[in-house]
């Protein structure tokens, strides 16, 4: 069952396994912290309207890879990108120096590992992205906030306390608030960095269910350390190891018949 692949094929998908249409695509993406190469020529397609999961043992660079998409690394000195991340439909390389990272972040949204609501009201948390974009009209804000909270399946729980501090909610609620905050600005691509790792199983289940509903509206790229989660929710899976892409393919196929020995070892729990 295990077919060993020629190393030059590592990272490429089999014919017919290339998703279409694409929302974004990493092309030969390398990333450096100072002089340390953290990502080595990683290429992954992000299928529109699908959930793509990034899996791999901790330290494999999956979070680093995710954070390249909204140029989060630009905030810290000594970081450098090589290669490209193309954002469709226009196919622009968003890592290009000419591209303003703020504009990139206005089209992509991110949810972090640890719920990080602002110590402001629930309402202001969700409205902040809109305010940054210059929305001042109270009616528009109200409507968008409600919509986003509904999309994040939080509306019913918080509609009576929109002015309560976001930080006063429970852990699972906080993370859904962060998802609502991310959704309020109608992002094209939602980046999730291990969004359930700080949550209990029930809250995790809620969020997984939510993501299934969301993918019709927004393309999702999710990093998870939990293989079962990837298998449950994603359409496509990329397995990374030591900063390299080992294998990419449809989730079902990758988890049943991995083409790479390392992938197989990882998903069968032999390491990682």
């Amino acid at each position: 069952m295990a077919r060993s692949l020629d190393s030059s094929h590592v990272g490429s998908a089999e014919k017919g396994e290339w998703p279409k249409p694409l929302k974004a695509e990493a092309c030969e993406l390398s990333f450096y912290y100072g002089s340390r190469l953290v990502l080595k020529r990683v290429s992954v397609p992000i299928a529109q309207g699908n959930i793509t999961a990034l899996i791999g043992p901790s330290g494999c660079g999956k979070s680093t890879f995710l954070r390249c998409f909204n140029r989060m690394h630009d905030l810290y000195p000594g970081t450098r990108y090589e290669g490209a991340i193309l954002l469709y439909p226009e196919g622009r390389n968003i890592l290009d120096r000419q591209v303003d990272p703020i504009e990139v972040r206005m089209r992509l949204a991110m949810v972090f590992q640890k719920p990080n609501p602002f110590p402001k009201s629930v309402y202001e948390n969700v409205a902040y992205g809109l305010r940054v974009r210059g929305v001042r009209d109270r009616r528009v804000l109200d409507e968008k906030v409600e919509q986003a909270l509904r999309s994040a399946a939080l509306w019913e729980e918080v509609k009576d306390r929109l002015s309560a501090l976001g930080t006063s909610l429970s852990g699972g609620q906080q993370q859904r608030l962060c998802i609502a905050r991310a959704l309020a600005t109608d992002p094209e691509l939602l980046l999730l960095d291990e969004p359930t790792s700080a949550l209990d199983p029930i809250a995790t289940g809620n969020i997984e269910e939510l993501l299934q509903d969301l993918k019709r509206r927004v393309t999702i790229l999710i990093v998870t350390h939990n293989m079962q989660q990837a298998a449950r929710i994603s359409d496509w899976t990329a397995f990374m190891y030591l900063g390299e892409l080992v294998e990419f393919g449809p989730t079902k196929r990758l988890f049943t018949t991995p083409t790479n020995k390392q992938t197989e070892d990882y998903i069968t729990g032999r390491f990682g």
Partner: protein, 296 residues
């Protein structure tokens, strides 16, 4: 043997506690001396009178007004600059030799004796810029003096805001300034406020630099009022007015021989200590409240 070691330990505890008691006791003694000597003079007449050759008729009114106006200038100049510098160093500056240089000068300024600031002010503000021995000069001098305190406490307060809050704002498309103005500053406001209170409390008691710039020790008038009856109703003449401040007034009284003036000095000292201790107490309280109320 063991008994002797235990004995030594108990002895040291007594020694340590009495050292601390000595420090605390000094504060009590100081306060007590001021109260005993000065409380009798601290009345309405004292607060509302001008200085006089007769100790019993002398008052501290021009000094109180002077201190207030000088503090106003100090606050208006020192706080924005100090907070802005703290924001720059913490949120904007890249790790370069240039940033190092700024940080070294801030640390250094914090250790410069206040009288050196007085000499700077004398050379720069009084003569080079021609501002004279005015309220403006004194206010700006004290603004420079408190700058390091404001910068350092601002930086500490800002640093306490976790990185993930900043990242959340950036990820939503906020610019650096939006992140700072909408999140970092509001969440660190209490800490910055503590620093500002401490800085102003230090400035209000400063004497040496104000002596050096040429504050008067006998002022029998008030600066021109900032609000006038004619349009535009605001006047900034007071900025250039000669002045005195509370610590200078106290210094002048201490330097005069005689029990009566010593009593005036004690009354002025009581007022000063009362103000600085109140401000410090407030700062300690704000800090204490803040520690209890952590968001993240």
């Amino acid at each position: 043997m063991i008994k002797r070691r235990k004995y030594a330990e108990a002895l040291f505890k007594v020694l340590g506690l009495s050292s601390l008691a000595l420090a605390v006791g000094t504060l009590a003694l100081l306060f007590g001396a001021l109260v005993v000597h000065g409380i009798g003079r601290l009345d309405w007449q004292f607060l509302t009178s001008f200085p006089s050759r007769h100790a019993s008729q002398a008052g501290i009114l021009p000094a109180v007004v002077g201190s207030t106006l000088v503090m106003l200038v100090t606050a208006c100049a020192g706080i924005p600059v100090g907070v802005a510098a703290g924001i720059y160093l913490e949120e904007y500056a890249k790790r370069t030799w240039f940033t190092e240089l700024i940080e070294v000068t801030v640390t250094n300024l914090a250790g410069v004796p206040s009288i050196i600031f007085g000499l700077l002010a004398l050379g720069l503000f009084v003569y080079m810029l021609g501002l004279g021995a005015s309220i403006l000069t004194a206010g700006l001098t004290l603004a420079l003096l408190i700058l390091p305190v404001v910068i350092v406490t601002t930086r500490e307060a800002i640093r306490a805001v976790p990185v993930h809050i900043r990242e959340a704002a950036f990820a939503l498309g906020a610019t650096r300034w939006q992140t700072v103005a909408d999140h970092v500053l509001p969440y660190s406001a209490a800490g910055i406020l503590t620093g500002i209170i401490l800085a102003l409390s230090r400035a209000i008691g400063e004497t040496a630099p104000i002596v050096t710039v040429g504050a008067l020790t006998f002022v029998a008038f008030l600066p021109p009022a900032p609000i006038t009856s004619q349009p535009p109703y605001l006047s900034f003449e007071w900025l250039m007015s000669p002045f005195t401040v509370m610590p200078i007034q106290m210094f002048a009284w201490v330097s005069r021989p005689g029990e009566d003036f010593a009593a005036n000095a004690a009354a002025a000292g009581l007022l000063l200590v009362g103000m600085t201790l109140t401000m410090n107490g407030l700062a300690i309280y704000v800090r204490y409240r803040m520690r209890k109320r952590v968001f993240w």
